[in-house]
């Protein structure tokens, strides 16, 4: 392998690496770099932790109660503006 990846190049390949979108050669270059670079190894681990933590967030819907209140606010405002 003559053309070694730099760390700066590696950080741009992390998503493709996770998504299995690299060619076999590229993948080998990434893994070779990771085996000998603790900075990038930490970086990739942090990306994994970021994704894992995001998975613990939950999307909330607007409650029916909040929606009702907001519609009242809206209707009052419309009266207020003298329509």
């Amino acid at each position: 392998m003559t053309n070694e990846l730099t760390c700066q190049e590696l950080v741009e390949l992390v998503t493709d690496y996770f998504e299995n979108a690299l060619t076999e050669t590229e993948r080998a270059r990434v893994e070779q770099h990771l085996a000998s670079c603790d900075g990038c190894d930490t970086y990739v681990e942090q990306m994994r932790e970021t994704i894992e933590t995001l998975g613990k967030l939950q999307e909330k819907d607007v409650s029916a109660e909040a929606q009702e209140k907001l519609l009242t606010v809206f209707r009052d405002w419309r009266l207020e503006t003298g329509e």
Binding site: T6, C7, Q8, E9, V11, E12, V14, T15, D16, E19, A21, C37, D38, G39, C40, T42, Y43, E45, Q46, M47, E49, T50, I51, E52, T53, L54, G55, K56, L57, Q58, E59, K60, D61, V62, A66, Q67, K69, L70, L71, V73, F74, R75, W77, R78, T81, E83
Partner: protein, 222 residues
């Protein structure tokens, strides 16, 4: 082609939303509430502890939005304007309750271009050794391992609120893709189909979004 710097312009969607609101169109209001109310509550929660108070603040913010419609000049996006109104209100409320804000919504503003949809590197280039260096392109400032216990991270409600805000602050397409993929757990294929975008485009948006959220996490954890 003009040489002057591009002035901010509302997207056609937001222009239409704004016009409909000004006409008093209730459906336009409902749609906007469905799109942003949850995010506004989360932003308010950055400043006030209590979920009910955050809900109240977000409701007050909507009244502020309606009353400010005539004055709104479209110098920022409608979304940014909504978020600014709610964060200002929540900040005032937070102060009244004498709560110190450890990590405000504005901490994210320190991260350069965080809310911009530009073609930027995953990691700012000043973190790497420059071209003159023998090890050009290698870390100058290596990331430091985080001391988070993955089992317990969800119990850190302050971090979770911060993370929610970090997702909300992303530019729209990045926010949608990362929400569907990493929060809702959709597959890449499902996202591409739902949004009508190509696989590579989906991956670029996801990459930018995840890289930024990692930076935000790093900012918080270091």
């Amino acid at each position: 082609m003009t040489a002057s710097p591009p002035a901010f312009e509302l997207s056609p969607t937001e222009q239409a939303q704004l016009a409909a609101l000004r006409r008093g169109d209730e459906n336009a209001f409902r749609e906007l509430v469905a799109e942003y109310h949850g995010a506004m509550v989360r932003i308010a929660q950055m400043f006030v502890d209590d979920r009910d108070i955050a809900e109240q603040v977000a409701q007050e913010a909507w009244l502020g939005v309606l009353r400010g419609l005539e004055r709104f000049q479209g110098r920022s996006s409608l979304k940014t304007w909504l978020f600014t109104i709610v964060s200002n209100l929540a900040k005032t409320r937070g102060k009244r309750e004498k709560r110190t804000i450890p990590f405000s919504f504005f901490a994210l503003r320190k991260l350069e271009n965080y809310d911009q949809d530009t073609d930027e590197p995953a990691v700012p280039e000043n973190r790497f050794r420059d071209a003159k260096d023998l090890y050009a392109g290698h870390w100058a400032m290596k990331p430091v391992p985080w001391e988070v216990d993955p089992e317990r991270v969800a119990l850190n409600s302050e971090l979770m609120k911060y993370l929610e805000a970090a997702v909300e602050m992303l530019p729209e397409q990045q926010r949608i893709v990362i929400t569907l993929r990493d929060i809702q757990g959709w597959t890449a294929e499902e996202v591409c189909n739902a949004l009508g975008i190509a696989e590579t485009n989906q991956r670029v948006l996801l990459h930018r979004a995840r890289s930024k959220v990692r930076r935000a996490m790093e900012e918080y954890l270091q």
